[in-house]
């Protein structure tokens, strides 16, 4: 590949300064222009790329583009730069890429996509008009602003075509038109037309809205206003949209002094190409200056302010007034935000930058009155400062608020808004304060060198002292605490102040109002660089509620354990007592002609060990005292009463009194026992000589006599249970026994059942007793084994058998 055109003929046009480098462009023939442009571009590349090889490659790439796009070198250079940027490559890399593409001969695909619309401009040019257009194009390319472009277009290309004036309009995003440059109109006229608000129908506007070239034979026929209408009221006009890449950046308006006949298509295309040229200039110009050329000259002021804002350490916004069509202040445009800028709603900087203030922060107009503040500052120049202002931003229609300190000041015609959003540390501190209040935590710091003590408000509360009072030094803590806590506090202070280690202690704080609070104090020492104790800081926490809960819990736990243990002890004691007094079996009594056997079966459940007793003893009178009794209730009280009654009966029996009398006395004993004890008992005195049993009962089941195959209870003689009344009388009965007779005394543990009467239970017992085995012991065992009792009660049996 090689460059297909060669410079041949220099043009007689004065050189101009190029934006990129500064090069002399002799715009003569296309070939000469091309050569000049190649030269300029090569220099430009040289500035950027110092390597000869790279330069050659880039030149080559441009050449390829020129040939394939059928465009001028300027276009090729621009395309190359744009594509390089899009591809995020270095120019050299991209140039190589282009060359590679060409070598594979796929270039046409690329070219079609790039600049199909400008193909007309690349036609071979032969006539002088076309040459001039090219010259104008070249000069325009070299111009550094739209005004120069306008001059160049008029002088180089349009005057030869009979045009007298040209205006380049920049289209604003709101539909307004701004006069970006003009030539051939008087300065006053240009100043009058510097800005055309949206929706005002002008020639240029029509070009913009129709998006195709408007060719007007005579301005007066259309009735449309436009710049310079008074000078050439009947002249022709052309309004050509100036667009690139589907975007219209503005309008090129050309004025002729006289009515304009229809133009030949070639000229139309050439002028459209000029419009496109303007578009490039407008585009770069707009990029450089932002929404430039807007009314009151804010830019210089704003520029200074932007520099200032960038030097600030707080988020800052540079605002410029935004006027409506009639020149009234309606809003401020956020001209610039500095690098520290943090959107309260957390949006990216780019979203906010360039937006209107009320668009970005619609809530600024609301309660916070931020907008009103800015307005006032802008109007009066009086600065405005506010602390802890509530800023609200709408993000996706959700209001988000933040607290900020605000500063607003006017600089020239711009306004500087600085805010400092309450930062995280500050927010945390505030949070901590709330937590301290809720947790009843009082913080303190004590400077041990100066003696200065700082308390927070909560600590004064804890101490029950007014916030105006003097804080209590740690050293004096014992004086404010319960005397019993002196040791704990002493240890705490020693650890903290002597060993210089963090320490904590719990103590009872005695407040001046007489209230005692349970306080936990935690503190840590702060040492200076020499290791000296500088500060002590820490916190008090009121743990009263917690403390009492813990105390109550501990007490309950102790009590439970104690009770459990006690109960266990008592049960064991009861059993031991019972066993000590009444062994489950007893050594047989040595009585001539009488067999005596006893059985005691304690309740299976330990705590039900009760007050059953039996006794069988030979009295001094040679009579045998036989007894079974049952103290109501269970446990140690019942067992104790049992012991009392049993021993009392033994003692009383020595008097030689009869069983009725004995029970009468025993009733008195029971009645006077503490705790309203009642008991039942059956008591008999057996006379071995006569084989008679004289007996009485106190509310107890009568003995059962087993004689041969018969078993029957003795009659139910009258006798009140023991202890219920102060005095009672007991009927006596006597039974004559025979050899082989068996007599049984028992407690109701043997027969007690819930589901049947005593009668039925007794019948059951009697049936069991009837089948008497050979020995008395066996009979008692059998009774215990077959007892139908369903209550887990202790059981006593005393049996005698007459030999």
């Amino acid at each position: 590949m090689s460059i297909s055109e060669h410079p041949s003929e220099p043009a007689g046009v004065e050189p101009r300064l190029d934006t990129a480098g500064g090069v002399d462009v002799p715009p003569v023939s296309p070939v000469g222009r091309l050569a000049a442009t190649v030269e300029r571009l090569s220099r430009e590349v040289r500035a950027a790329q110092a390597e000869a090889e790279g330069r050659a490659l880039i030149e080559l790439a441009k050449g390829i583009l020129v040939e394939r796009l059928k465009c001028g070198p300027a276009q090729a250079a621009r395309q190359l730069a744009e594509l390089t940027e899009q591809a995020r490559m270095t120019p050299l890399q991209f140039a190589v890429e282009v060359i590679n593409q060409a070598a594979r001969d796929r270039m046409s695909e690329v070219t079609d996509a790039f600049l199909a619309a400008t193909a007309a401009a690349g036609e071979p040019v032969a006539d002088p008009a076309a040459v001039r257009l090219r010259a104008a194009e070249s000069e325009a390319l070299a111009a550094d602003d739209t005004q120069s472009v306008a001059d160049a277009l008029l002088e180089q290309a349009l005057r030869p075509l009979g045009a007298v004036a040209v205006a380049i309009w920049a289209a604003g995003s709101d539909g307004s038109l701004t006069l970006a440059g003009s030539a051939g109109f008087s300065p006053a006229e240009a100043a009058r037309w510097r800005y055309v608000p949206p929706d005002v129908a002008t020639v240029a506007r029509r070009g913009l809205s129709e998006r195709t070239g408007q060719w007007i034979t005579s301005l007066s026929e259309t009735g449309l206003p436009s710049i310079g209408r008074h000078h050439h009221p009947d002249g022709g006009r052309a309004a050509l949209p100036a667009g690139t890449g589907g975007r219209i950046h503005g309008v090129l308006e050309i004025a002729w002094p006289a009515p304009l006949p229809p133009q030949p298509p070639q000229l139309v295309r050439q002028m459209e190409a000029l419009a496109e040229l303007c578009a490039h200039t407008l585009e770069t110009s707009t990029l450089r200056h932002g929404p430039a050329q807007e009314p009151p000259r804010v830019l210089p002021d704003a520029a200074e302010l932007m520099d200032l804002a960038d030097g600030l350490h707080d988020p800052a916004l540079v605002l410029v007034p935004h006027l409506d069509g009639s020149g009234h202040l309606v809003d401020f445009r956020i001209q610039h935000v500095n690098s520290r800028f943090l959107d309260p709603a957390g949006r990216p900087r780019a979203v906010v930058n360039g937006a209107l203030l009320l668009e970005a922060y619609p809530m600024a107009a609301g309660a916070g009155e931020l907008f009103r503040g800015i307005e006032r500052v802008y109007a009066t120049g009086e600065p405005f400062r506010a602390r802890r202002m509530n800023l609200t931003a709408l993000v996706d229609q959700v209001p988000l608020s933040a607290i900020a300190d605000i500063s607003i000041s006017r600089h020239g015609s711009a306004v500087l808004l600085i805010w400092r959003i309450e930062d995280e540390t500050a927010r945390l501190a505030s949070l901590l304060q709330h937590a301290q209040r809720l947790g009843r935590i009082g913080g303190f710091e004590e400077n041990l060198l100066t003696g200065e003590i700082t308390w927070n408000g909560q600590l004064f509360d804890l101490y029950g002292r007014p916030p105006s009072s003097t804080p209590v030094p740690l050293e004096q803590l014992p004086a404010h605490a319960h005397p019993d806590d002196a040791v704990a506090i002493g240890r705490f202070l020693r650890t903290l102040l002597h060993h210089r280690r963090p320490a904590s202690a719990a103590f009872r704080l005695l407040r001046p109002d007489g209230v005692t609070r349970h306080i936990r104090v935690v503190a840590e020492p702060v040492l200076d660089t020499d290791g000296r104790l500088l500060l002590v800081r820490g916190a008090y926490q009121d743990i009263s509620a917690q403390h009492w809960t813990e105390v109550a819990l501990a007490a309950t736990r102790d009590q439970l354990a104690h009770t459990e243990q006690q109960a266990h002890e008592r049960n064991r004691l009861t059993l031991q007592l019972q066993h000590a007094i009444m062994p489950p079996t007893q050594a047989p009594l040595q009585v001539t002609g009488l067999e005596v056997a006893v059985r005691y079966r304690p309740a299976e459940t330990e705590q039900l060990v009760g007050g059953d007793w039996y006794d069988a003893v030979v009295l001094p009178s040679r009579l045998v005292l036989l007894c079974v009794g049952d103290v109501a209730g269970h446990g140690i009280e019942a067992a104790t009463s049992m012991v009392v009654l049993r021993n009392a009966l033994r003692g009383l029996a020595v008097t030689g009194a009869g069983p009725g009398q004995l029970l009468s006395w025993l009733n008195i004993v029971a009645h006077h026992l503490t705790g309203a004890v009642t008991a039942t008992a059956v008591c008999g005195l057996y006379d071995p000589a006569r084989r008679t049993l004289r007996w009485a009962r106190a509310g107890h089941l009568p003995p059962v006599l087993v004689r041969g195959p018969e078993a029957a209870p003795l009659p139910l003689v009258r006798g009140m249970l023991l202890g219920a009344v102060p005095e009672a009388e007991y009927e006596e009965a006597e039974v004559q026994l025979a050899v082989e007779d068996t007599l049984l005394m028992y407690t109701d543990g043997l027969i007690e059942r819930r589901d049947r009467s005593v009668e039925e239970s007794l019948t059951q017992l009697l049936t069991t007793a009837r089948h008497a085995p050979s020995t008395l012991d066996q009979q008692l065992d059998r009774l215990l084994t077959y007892s139908r009792s369903d209550t887990d009660d202790d059981t006593c049996i005393v049996g005698i058998r007459v030999d």
């Binding site: 109501a632 009140m720 219920a724 009344v725 819930r754 009467s757």
Partner: protein, 130 residues
């Protein structure tokens, strides 16, 4: 040991200002004695002096139930007042006889009979039998 598998029902009415009629239904045993005692204590607290215990719906009474009767008997006697047992079932009658409680606490066959006894011996704290 099963607990409260036989719920006790005690209904209290006042035939007279100082006479409480307690109609008991259910087993009077170790499981229910305490509840029965609460009813009696409540009436004592309200100043009743005479206690009529209708035990016609008590199929079973053990020593715990009996001890409650004895206790209220002792309390009432000190006031002075009285306790009357009305229409005991045979099983309960048997227990009352067995323990000799029927010697001390009069047994009546109806509320009217018991009230008549209350009227006849208004101020006699001691009575050996009914």
């Amino acid at each position: 040991m099963p607990i409260a598998h036989n719920p006790l029902s005690v209904e209290v009415s006042l035939p007279r200002q100082d006479v409480a009629l307690l109609t008991v239904e259910g087993y009077l045993d170790v499981d229910t004695a305490t509840e029965f005692q609460h009813h009696l204590a409540n009436q004592l607290h309200h100043g009743r002096r005479h206690f009529l215990l209708d035990l016609s719906e008590v199929p079973f009474m053990d020593s715990s139930g009996m001890n409650i009767i004895l206790r209220v008997y002792q309390e009432a006697r000190a006031l002075p007042g009285s306790v009357h047992i009305i229409s005991p079932t045979p099983a309960v009658q048997r227990i009352l006889d067995l323990t000799g409680v029927s010697i001390t606490v009069p047994v009546s066959q109806s509320v009217e009979e018991a009230l008549a006894l209350v009227d006849r011996q208004p101020e006699q704290p001691e009575n050996e039998d009914g």
